[in-house]
Subunit: 353 residues, 2 copies
Amino acid sequence: MQTGQAKPLLRALAGEALSPPPWWLMRQAGRYLPEYREVRARARDFVELCLTPELAAELTLQPIRRYGMHGAILFSDILMLPYALGQKLAFHEGEGPVLERIEDPAAVGKLDARRIASALDPVFETARRVRGGLDPRTTLIGFAGAPWTVATYMVEGGGSRDFRRVKSWAYRDPQGFDALIDLLADATIEYLTGQIGAGVEVVQLFDSWAGTLPEPAFVRWVIEPTRRIVAALKVRFAGCPIIGFPRGAGMLHERYLRDTGVDGIGIDTAVPPGYAHRTLQPLGTVQGNLDPVLLLVGGAALEEAVRGLRQMLGAGPYIFNLGHGVLPETPAENVQALARLLSEPVLAQPMDA
Amino acid sequence: MQTGQAKPLLRALAGEALSPPPWWLMRQAGRYLPEYREVRARARDFVELCLTPELAAELTLQPIRRYGMHGAILFSDILMLPYALGQKLAFHEGEGPVLERIEDPAAVGKLDARRIASALDPVFETARRVRGGLDPRTTLIGFAGAPWTVATYMVEGGGSRDFRRVKSWAYRDPQGFDALIDLLADATIEYLTGQIGAGVEVVQLFDSWAGTLPEPAFVRWVIEPTRRIVAALKVRFAGCPIIGFPRGAGMLHERYLRDTGVDGIGIDTAVPPGYAHRTLQPLGTVQGNLDPVLLLVGGAALEEAVRGLRQMLGAGPYIFNLGHGVLPETPAENVQALARLLSEPVLAQPMDA
């Protein structure tokens, strides 16, 4: 399908098969870059870093300058949304985020969705600054956490191994939990509306913990709110493609892609490329899924894996990415090697096994 | 299929659809039981607990006395294998296991597979004691970690978020890493041979981290060693069924079940029961997959979920279980409620959607 779009990432999201494929990397701005660490040191903490447009814009652009990815993703964090709603948030070095815990519908009632536009205006300002400085082939990507994943952090008070608190609430009082999910969906619509208004051209919804839910809960708290967010954004901005990333969704990727209305789907490292080729590409654009450890290792293993992905997925609409974020220990030169590998010609030869 | 086997768990593993289904729970012996905590206090540490047959046998039987599960699983830990091979191991309360790290083929060469039989004889003695005391409808289940999962702990030195060390080794030096996997497969064959010789009637291979690998690595380090273990055990003990539990395997469950030769497959919470009914039950017995948090929550949510699983999976060969281990915070009375729910008549009505 030819769409007349000039930017490779937008063409892929409109359904075109491109060779070489457009690419970007989750966490492409980050600690593996020396110039990141220098800018990071100029903010008191991580929240300040995300909410200082000058610094966040610089961090967004750093990997593009080095490697020329086709997508520049706003430097921010999915927890800026609960922060903007009024939830206390801190990032402790090496330990992950810590949030004041939300434990019941009464606590949900205290969250103030009207604060989104003002509290997150620095993110919109970052978008405006970056968009102005991008070359014409690079696409500005905005993002938010999907409601289920953001809710896990809000209720657990941080990361979790068993999601005991958030699932207990959801299973015990599904209507009460719906109120939290609904509020997050509404806030996410406002947040992404602000981002798109500020120049973002594609948005990605990160649902990092989608794969922890049994099917009925996945339908109710992953698919439904995502569908609602996508529908609202499509009414306001028909031309802005949306990528969903339901990490760990396994056999539910197909249903997610069919039922939510997203244009593209991010796939994690465990998804077999052959399945993505046969089952997902006929329904939408596929994005992924190199193991981040292969980027860390580099060399022949990286070459072989990148070639394999391009062979299997390159005949359909495809955006190259990792299956998870860049690891902080990744050598910067391996990303350079990846950029070179991605620019080489590779014949797409999907095997319909 | 009628097999003449008297024990429900063995009949289900031979392909029979039983109503009510046989059941047991991963981590059914554990901290949620007051009588567990009492016995736990009698050992200096967790390793001693696993290797003291009197205590381990008592812990194995505790949940059976209370709830009458159809399967009694040996009280032990998958890390007893590296411990027996000579790797230092400690369990720190609330922090998970800590192992001396194995970093290269030279370190693999120092592991002594000949120690398995003697170092793990206490586990075999536990099996002999338990088997003697089981009523005729209860099946004794032995287990081991699958080589990939055991290797992750051995190389990372404990649990991991990104499996950076173990995957780096595997990707950089696949032949060298094969040597570790091969040694673990051989040791696992010896270990399970000892368990079966001591009276174990079914074995389960726990591959808790199977779902972290991309497809080619999954084939090489999950499917291949599992296939080899299953083939060796089937030669020695044709009548001992084997259950594989490749947690997080997503779309690769089907290939795992086809290619490894296991009789049954454990499915985690994220696997849709409809997929298991349509795709896995025609190939083998399915075991799973109630969310452990539903057992913690109890009440109407538990009832509805248990009924749903039995409706979808009860028409084929099925063993009821959780999708992951019992959570320590689970109220003991909820397990009693589950036992009651499982004994009620439910009409299997799989929907072939």
